[in-house]
Symmetry: C2
């Protein structure tokens, strides 16, 4: 039986100079967030850090202590700028070792691709005591060590790793959400939103304004782990908006 009051949380560390330089648009935050919510786990905080051992260690040790799970993306390839495994091992105070299962996977994967070179064998290195996370897409596996889940930086590879983790992590009740939209300036209905949120314990209402086609509108996202409260809150907010003269679009605009 799931304890409805227990909130499971995760943090994510995105490791990579390419995100901080603006060269690469991150795609992992949103895909991991969405995947986590289906597992009944909330993404509570994200940090983007450079390829710098001290920066990674600080983030790992702060975030793993105060969340149920800590995910990392990036920095597990074969090149000199891939320092995630070493930094996490240092954060944990454990050695780096070759994982024999990973060596076997890589040896098999590279059999028809020029063989398992020294550089490629780097991708079998793990913090001592780790397990592997299956990688459907390419050779190098992800790594699990306690509550830390070490994923690839390439989003399509991370997607496969998340798929192989589906159902494997303990979570709580999934956070459900509904969205409604109106062509209204959010400043016109700020009091209404606040009052509606106060009236429904356990529901949060987020207000997301936009400007399109020269007009001002907003989508309202209602979130709760309690489907009954969610539906009642959504219905109440929709009715109040309609009474105010704003047509409501279910699902958002």
């Amino acid at each position: 039986m799931v304890d409805p009051t227990r909130i499971w949380t995760a943090a994510l560390i995105v490791i990579g100079d390419e995100i901080l330089s603006g060269r690469t648009q991150d795609r992992n935050v949103s895909q991991i967030a969405v995947w986590l919510s289906v597992q009944g786990i909330r993404l509570r905080e994200v940090r983007v850090v450079p390829d710098d051992q001290n920066a990674i260690i600080e983030a790992v040790n702060t975030l793993r202590a105060r969340n149920d799970y800590l995910f990392t993306t990036g920095g597990i390839g074969p090149t000199h700028d891939d320092i995630t495994v070493d930094a996490i091992a240092a954060a944990l105070g454990v050695d780096v070792e070759i994982h024999e299962g990973a060596r076997a996977i890589l040896s098999d994967y590279y059999k028809a691709r020029g063989g398992l070179t020294e550089a490629r064998l780097r991708m079998a290195r793990v913090p001592a005591g780790a397990d592997l996370i299956e990688n459907y897409m390419s050779g190098a596996p992800g790594i699990r060590h306690g509550n830390i889940l070490i994923m690839a930086g390439v989003p399509s590879i991370t997607a496969g790793m998340l798929d192989s983790l589906t159902g494997q992590l303990e979570g709580g009740l999934p956070l459900q959400s509904t969205t409604i939209g109106c062509w209204v300036a959010e400043s016109e209905i700020a009091d209404l939103l606040a009052a509606t949120e106060r009236a429904y314990a356990g529901c949060q209402i987020g207000s997301y304004p936009f400007f399109r086609e020269g007009r001002t509108g907003a989508n309202f996202v209602i979130r709760s782990t309690d489907a009954n409260a969610l539906n009642a809150c959504t219905a109440d907010l929709s009715a109040a908006l309609e009474r105010g003269g704003w047509a409501v679009t279910a699902g958002g605009i």
Copy 2:
């Protein structure tokens, strides 16, 4: 005269449950990163935090102390979930006050839009002692308080605020970069990359693998504040790759 050894840094706090839920794909990290690099400032770290006062305070006080600049995005609208100003004032230990310049801007902006209501006046609230950042796109201005720059969450509005800040922040030499690409598995040339980087002080080489059209390739981004070193390092790496039998595409694949 710019001191070539002084590195100016910035941090960014992205504030918003909508990013952590995966509902909204962040666009501000990359646009702020790219804008900063033109100003000669490096984005050193990013945190994404929920709409939670304690989470914001912790991030603000840690990051403003160890960076030249701290940017925030999100949470400066008129609704109940917009708590950025209050949280930053609490972090700084100052009161929240109505900025008379902001009141005048909003009063003017809303003259033909139903007037300056109580909810809209919330957008004139600033941490005491703040200046404004011009907003070309909509009414509510951004806010500057010491080394903290408080920007909108909507990317197009943030873009306008960055434009009005262009040339206003002191920075150092801009970090320049070149990109070259090859159809090569990065694991095949890991040693070459590491050796080339070691040979050019002040240059960093990032390796970004990809999978396209069923083939494996990688782009290599060389970064330096020294244009001569950058060009020499790029030429050397390109020549070494060509000698190894891999055709190099300038600008990346």
